[in-house]
């Protein structure tokens, strides 16, 4: 490789050869043959590399040619038959695609019997008893420590009345009682504020289930009548299970995901 610009300098001072253009033209004409001879006679890795390069160039050239051809010839646009056929009265309307809500009632019933559930949060951090309850001292000298106050969100049914204060061991403060949950449908991706009907299972233990404590991972039953779901038998579905996904005692609201 030339170091410096002495070649250009000479060309500037003395010009080029007199037959420079002629030779250049002929050399370029011969270059095609040279290239093809090279491509045919190279062997080994060199030959493969040359072949690969040539193929890539050929494919690219073909594409550009086709593109040019397309614009010159006129063709009727072929409409593809799309999925999701709707009748004429629904064509101009944007409908939210509803997830098909079917056939799961039988499966649900079977799972209920088995006690097994496919839930979005299979494992949750276990909550210790001292985290769940706070000891309340009672009695004249405040020495008795048999009462406990629940520190997590709870659900008590609509007809709930407290036991006589002298005998109630577990206190569920009304500030931590919730009736509604924000339930998200996993497929529709929309959230509804639905009433809680009851607590189905708290993973921390049956005692918490019976108390109605809602922690992360608890399965609750919500009232879905406003969603307008119908079973194949024609009955209207009004209760469905959902799993709590947040820590309600920290957030002040219950977020759950519907189990479909």
């Amino acid at each position: 490789m030339p170091q410096g610009d002495y070649i250009e300098l000479h060309q500037k001072r003395h010009g080029r050869r007199l037959d420079y253009e002629e030779r250049k033209r002929k050399k370029e004409a011969r270059a095609v043959h040279k290239r093809s001879k090279q491509a045919q006679n190279s062997i080994g890795i060199k030959g493969k590399m040359i072949a690969k390069k040539n193929y890539a160039e050929k494919a690219q050239m073909k594409k550009t040619l086709k593109m040019h051809e397309e614009s010159s010839s006129r063709r009727k646009a072929d409409e593809d038959v799309q999925e999701g056929a709707v009748p004429a009265y629904l064509l101009d309307r944007e409908n939210t695609t509803r997830a098909k809500v079917l056939s799961n009632t039988i499966k649900q019933k079977r799972k209920e019997k088995a006690g097994k559930w496919e839930v979005p949060l299979p494992k949750v951090r276990p909550v210790a008893e001292d985290e769940m309850f706070r000891v309340i001292r009672s009695g004249k000298r405040k020495t008795k420590q048999w009462k406990r106050m629940v520190t997590k969100a709870t659900f008590v049914g609509p007809g709930f009345t407290r036991k006589p204060p002298k005998y109630e061991r577990f206190i569920r403060p009304s500030g931590l009682r919730f009736t509604k949950a924000h339930v998200t449908h996993p497929e529709l991706r929309c959230t509804f504020c639905l009433e809680i009907i009851g607590i189905k299972k708290n993973p921390n233990g049956p005692m918490y289930t019976s108390l109605g404590v809602m922690t992360r991972g608890t399965i609750i039953e919500v009232n879905v009548s406003e969603l307008g779901l119908v079973t194949p038998g024609g009955k209207v579905v009004w209760g469905k299970y959902a799993q709590v996904t947040n820590n309600p005692e920290n957030d002040g609201c219950i977020n759950a995901v519907l189990l479909v």
Binding site: E79, V81, Y89, L90, L91, G228, G234, K235, V236
Partner: protein
């Protein structure tokens, strides 16, 4: 005390005046015993009209149906015995359709959602169009597929039988129309092109105006309606004028074509030259659906519940007879349902102004349908209710609630006593008009029900929807 005894003395009879729905009196006011119920009144009316056979009638006092003896009605409503009681009588259909209550067959066959179904006017054949671009003909005796008609390039959005049952025409999403021979299941000629966007509705010319059936009109999203001739296979007239999509088209019994459009207007066209006669304005949003009071009789042509076949020249006469019987003396009525949650009742040949505005729905009205005898209007809406209105005055009668999803389509039984509705919640429901309650619930579809139809002979109901199967229901 005196009042009571005098009332008791007069208590045996009451002065009544029988009138027909149009207002003409039947005889003069007469004394009728208070124990007379609908049965005795029927006998009376039959005698006065000199009917050869006993025809059934229903009686209405101030728009409320009279189901109990006259005396009980008087007591309940505290109507004075001294005033003349006007009782309106209406003839009911002679035949009675049995309500369907079971699914006799679920026929699979379509590869995509079923978009439209239609029985032939004689009730012997069934055709359905679907998103898999085929039209299928089904055998009703064995309840199995008969023919698969391929020829469309995109979803088949609407199908229509000619009123004599000899032609079947279907329109697709790519704007082409195919004519089929229903006996062989073959394409008749080539697909008819002309429309640039999808076909929203097809309507045939009534048989009593021209027999055999040749002309039909189609409406499309591109804003015009075209009148085609099925034998010449070309467009006769193109009715342009709407600025937005034409959502529905109906060929009226008096030879006028009505088109409803998304530009909130309804236009009336005359059919010889394709000129605009009138424009009916009033709606605030898209006009979704039109219905004529004589629609059912125009669709079935010369066929009636007896199932007799007529030779071609007699067909026209018989169809005209049936048309005049249903129409009566009053002009043809048109009802239009719109996205602005209301419907208008028009008498288009009389005036440009609507006769009545029917409000009450809380969501858009998707489908409106007159009963076969023209006495009731049923409207299906996205607010999950079906409303029943008086077909002559447009007064609201009752709302049928029960569906939990938007109601897509309604269909009447041939005797106008039962109403069928299909909804997005995958159920069909049959409502009884006399008691105004739910008669039968027909669940079973796995997904939304897009199209329902009741056969003109009343035997079967067919429904098709997103779950790609056709369900036949029987009584």
């Amino acid at each position: 005390m005196n009042m009571e005894t005098s009332q008791a003395g007069m208590g045996n009879t009451v002065m009544c005046l029988l009138t027909d729905p149009e207002g003409t009196n039947l005889g003069s006011a007469m004394y009728i015993p208070q124990t007379a119920g609908p049965l005795q009144l029927t006998q009376l009316v039959n005698k006065f009209l000199n009917n050869e056979e006993m025809l059934p009638y229903s009686f209405y006092v101030s728009d409320e149906e009279l189901l109990v003896p006259v005396g009980t009605y008087l007591e309940k409503n505290k109507v004075s015995v001294e005033k003349v009681l006007t009782i309106v009588y209406q003839q009911q259909a002679v035949f009675r359709i049995r309500p369907v209550n079971r699914c006799s067959q679920t026929i699979a066959g379509h590869a995509e959602a079923v978009l439209c179904v239609s029985f032939s006017p004689d009730g012997k054949q069934l055709a359905s169009g679907s998103g898999d671009t085929t039209v299928r003909l089904w055998d009703l005796n064995t309840e199995t597929p008969m023919f698969t008609c391929k020829g469309h390039r995109n979803w088949v959005l609407s199908i229509a039988w000619s009123p004599d049952g000899k032609h079947l025409v279907s329109g697709s999403k790519s704007g082409e129309i195919c004519c089929w021979n229903p006996k062989k299941g073959e394409l008749d000629g080539n697909p008819l092109t002309g429309h640039k966007k999808w076909i929203t509705g097809i309507s045939w010319e009534p048989v009593h105006l021209s027999s055999p059936c040749r002309r039909f009109v189609t409406s499309s999203k591109d804003g015009d309606a075209r009148i085609w001739d099925v034998t010449l296979k070309k467009t006769l007239i193109c009715l342009t004028g709407h600025s937005l999509a034409v959502t529905c088209v109906k060929w009226g019994g008096d030879g006028i074509i009505y088109t409803g459009s998304q530009d909130c207007t309804i236009k009336m066209w005359e059919t010889t030259q394709g000129k605009l006669i009138r424009e009916l304005k009033g709606h605030g949003h898209w006009v979704n659906s039109l219905a004529l009071s004589t629609e059912y009789v125009l669709r079935t042509g010369a066929f009636d519940h007896t199932g007799r076949q007529y030779p071609p020249n007699e067909e026209m006469k018989k169809a005209l007879e049936r048309y005049n019987q249903t129409k009566g003396d009053s002009p043809e009525r048109l009802v239009s349902g719109s996205d602005d949650f209301t419907m208008f009742l028009w008498e288009p040949s009389v005036s440009k102004q609507p006769k009545k505005r029917l409000t009450g729905h809380q969501q858009l009205v998707n489908h409106v349908y007159f009963s076969p005898d023209g006495k009731w209007i049923a409207s299906a809406s996205f607010d999950r209710s079906v409303r029943l209105w008086n077909g002559v005055t447009g007064q609201f009668v009752t709302a049928f609630r029960g569906h939990v999803g938007p109601v897509y389509q309604v269909s009447w039984s041939a005797d106008s006593r039962l109403l069928l509705s299909g909804s997005k919640d995958s159920t069909l429901k049959i409502w009884e008009i006399r008691t105004k309650t739910l008669k039968q619930d027909l669940p079973g579809h796995a997904d939304e029900v897009f199209a329902v139809d009741w056969s003109p002979d009343g035997e079967k109901v067919v429904s098709g929807g997103k779950d790609k199967v056709l369900k036949l229901w029987k009584g």
